[in-house]
Symmetry: C2
Subunit: 194 residues, 2 copies
C-alpha cells in the first residue's frame, strides 16, 4: 500500500471510531509513525482527507450498481442487497464515514459528498422504479421505498460483523427476502416469474 492509501485507511478508522472532530492530525500522524508536519506532504487538510474517504466509499457502492446483472428486477434487487451489504462488511470504517461522518464537511466539499450520496441513492431508486414499471414491484412512492430499503441495509454497519454467527451470505439472503416483500413481491414470485 502506498503512503497515501495508508493515510486514508488509518484516517477512515479513526474518523469512524472516534468521530471526525475528535481526530487530530497529530493523532493520525502518530498512528502512521510520521512527524505531524510530514503528513502535509501527502494531503492538504483533514477535511480533504474526510472527503477522500467518502469518495472511496462512494466508488465501492457505485460499483455495486454498475455490476448489477441485467434482467429481471428481483434478480437485480437481490444482487443489490448482497453487494451493498458486502461493501459494508468489507469496508466498515469507510462505510461508516460515508454514512455518518460526511456531515462534518463544510462547503464546497460538503456539496461533493452530498452529490456522491445522492448519485448512489438515485441509482438504487432507478432499480426500484424499473421494477415498478415492469409490474414486479408494487410501490406507491419509489423515493420513500428507496429510503426505507437503504435504511434497513445501512444500519447493518451498527451491528453486523463478518466474524459473527451470521454469514454475509445468510444475512444477504434473509434481508433480500424482507426487502422484496416490502417492495410488494409476492412470495414464490421471487425467482423472476414476473
Amino acid at each position: 500500500m502506498d503512503r497515501r492509501s495508508q493515510i486514508l485507511t488509518i484516517a477512515g478508522h479513526l474518523f469512524s471510531q472516534r468521530g471526525y472532530h475528535a481526530t487530530s492530525m497529530r493523532e493520525l500522524a502518530r498512528h502512521l509513525n510520521l512527524q505531524g508536519g510530514s503528513l502535509y506532504a501527502h494531503i492538504q487538510s483533514k477535511e480533504e482527507l474526510l472527503l477522500e474517504v467518502v469518495r472511496q466509499a462512494a466508488e465501492r457502492f457505485q460499483k455495486v450498481l454498475e455490476e448489477l446483472p441485467s434482467g429481471d428486477p428481483v434478480t437485480r434487487m437481490k444482487a443489490l442487497v448482497k453487494g451493498h451489504l458486502r461493501v459494508i462488511a468489507e469496508e466498515l470504517p469507510r462505510a461508516t464515514v460515508f454514512f455518518h461522518e460526511w456531515k462534518h464537511l463544510s462547503p464546497p466539499l460538503l456539496e461533493e459528498a452530498k452529490a456522491l450520496r445522492r448519485r448512489y441513492e438515485e441509482g438504487v431508486q432507478e432499480v426500484i422504479r424499473e421494477g415498478v414499471e415492469k409490474g414486479v414491484f408494487q410501490v406507491e412512492n419509489p423515493r420513500l421505498a428507496t429510503l426505507f430499503v437503504l435504511s434497513a441495509l445501512n444500519w447493518t454497519y451498527q451491528w453486523y460483523r463478518p466474524d459473527g454467527p451470521l454469514s454475509l451470505e445468510e444475512l444477504s439472503e434473509q434481508y433480500a427476502k424482507l426487502v422484496l416483500r416490502a417492495l410488494g413481491v409476492r412470495e414464490g414470485g421471487e425467482d423472476g416469474e414476473a
Copy 2:
C-alpha cells in the same frame, strides 16, 4: 426547565452535532453561560452526562412500547412504527445519541446503555413474535426481522425533518405499510382480519 434538564438538553445537542469526543465540558459550560467549574455542581462527569441522555431517550422509546394498544398484531405494529418515528422527530438530538454516540461510553456505564438498548429491541421483537404466533406475521427469523425493522425506522434520524415536505403522519403510514409487508402481512389483511 431546571438547570439539570437544561444541561442535559444542551449536552444532547452538542453530542449529536459534533460528536461526544469533540464536545468539551468547557464548550458545554459556554453554551449554558456557566463557569466551567460550576457545571460540576450539577453533574459528575461528561460520561455520566452521556449516559443520562441515553437514559432519557431510552425512556421515551420504552414508553412507546408500554402504550401500545392491546389487540391484533397489525394495529400494534402500526402504533409502534408511528410511536418510534414520533420519538425520533420530537427528540432528534437525544435519539441520535441513543443510536450513535452511546458507543463512546466505557464500562460499566457502557453496559447500562447496552442493556437499555437491548430492552427496547427485545420489546419490539416480542411484538413481532406475538404476530408470528398468532399467524399474522410470516417471519423465519424474528430476531433478524426485528433488526431489519428497527434499522429501517432508526435511519430516519439521518434525513427526516418534521418541517420538511412529508408530515410525520404520512411518513408513519407509508413506513408502517412497508414494515407490515416485510413481515409478510398480505395486502388487505392489514386491518387485523386475522
